[in-house]
Point group: C2
Chain length 121, copies 2
DNA sequence: CCGTATCCCGGGAGATACTG
DNA sequence: CAGTATCTCCCGGGATACGG
């Protein structure tokens, strides 16, 4: 049972983990449908290879939908699936904790500053 | 602003990511204070090196507390910090989503089974 | 008992070039 | 436009041995 509880967490992390997945999801969640090239423009530092592989993994997990237009030049659109939408509360929880954590870091930093100031006096 | 939103998520993931962190956190959350050797026994497949490094990272992020007893033989106890406790809702959200996702996978699987059964008839 | 120090390997991820 | 195909480098993480 210990294992089960944990494997659920790991299953979830598996899907979120990948250097670019959070950013990609963020783009698709906020912009809705996007073409491959739009994603590339929005994420200047990612290579095509990486963008493709991360999108494929998300597609495999039924989080992202890939719509191909049979035409020349090619056109492919990506969007969050209905099932993927169910990640919203999870993403929000992660985001909320991250926000609080950054705040916490700032507090730790300012405490260090106080100590330093006290020493230099 | 896009970057900020995303960096929060990444900040959070950074802390959770690491092959053994979820399991370690699970142990400490359910068992409270644990000695190094207890963790080793609970996690048979982890090496000392890995256990140490993951605990150090968690300690660095103020999630886990390390209490050293100056004695021979040495004794070291690990526990979740007060601040670390604030991860509870996050962990629960991840766990909840993971649970739902596994359920979703089962549904997909049983649909495949139906198709197969239909074909073989 | 609670760790470091070393050595080593596989795979994640970047750079670059090519294609339907 | 939307991808593959290669080649290469780096480092997370395992195995093993040693140290206070």
């Amino acid at each position: 049972m210990a294992d089960e509880n944990c494997s659920r967490v790991e299953t979830a992390l598996e899907i979120l983990v990948g250097k670019w997945k959070p950013v990609i999801l963020y783009q698709l969640f906020t912009n809705g449908t996007m073409r491959f090239s739009e994603l590339q423009r929005a994420l200047p530092d990612i290579t095509k290879k990486m963008l493709t592989s991360q999108l494929r993994e998300l597609e495999y997990h039924d989080i992202v939908h890939r719509k191909i237009y049979m035409q020349i030049p090619p056109k492919v659109e990506y969007s969050i699936t209905e099932y993927g939408m169910k990640m919203t509360p999870l993403l929000e929880a992660i985001n909320a904790w991250g926000t609080m954590h950054i705040q916490h870091l700032n507090e730790l930093y300012s405490e260090d500053r106080k100590l330093e100031d006290a020493e230099t006096k």
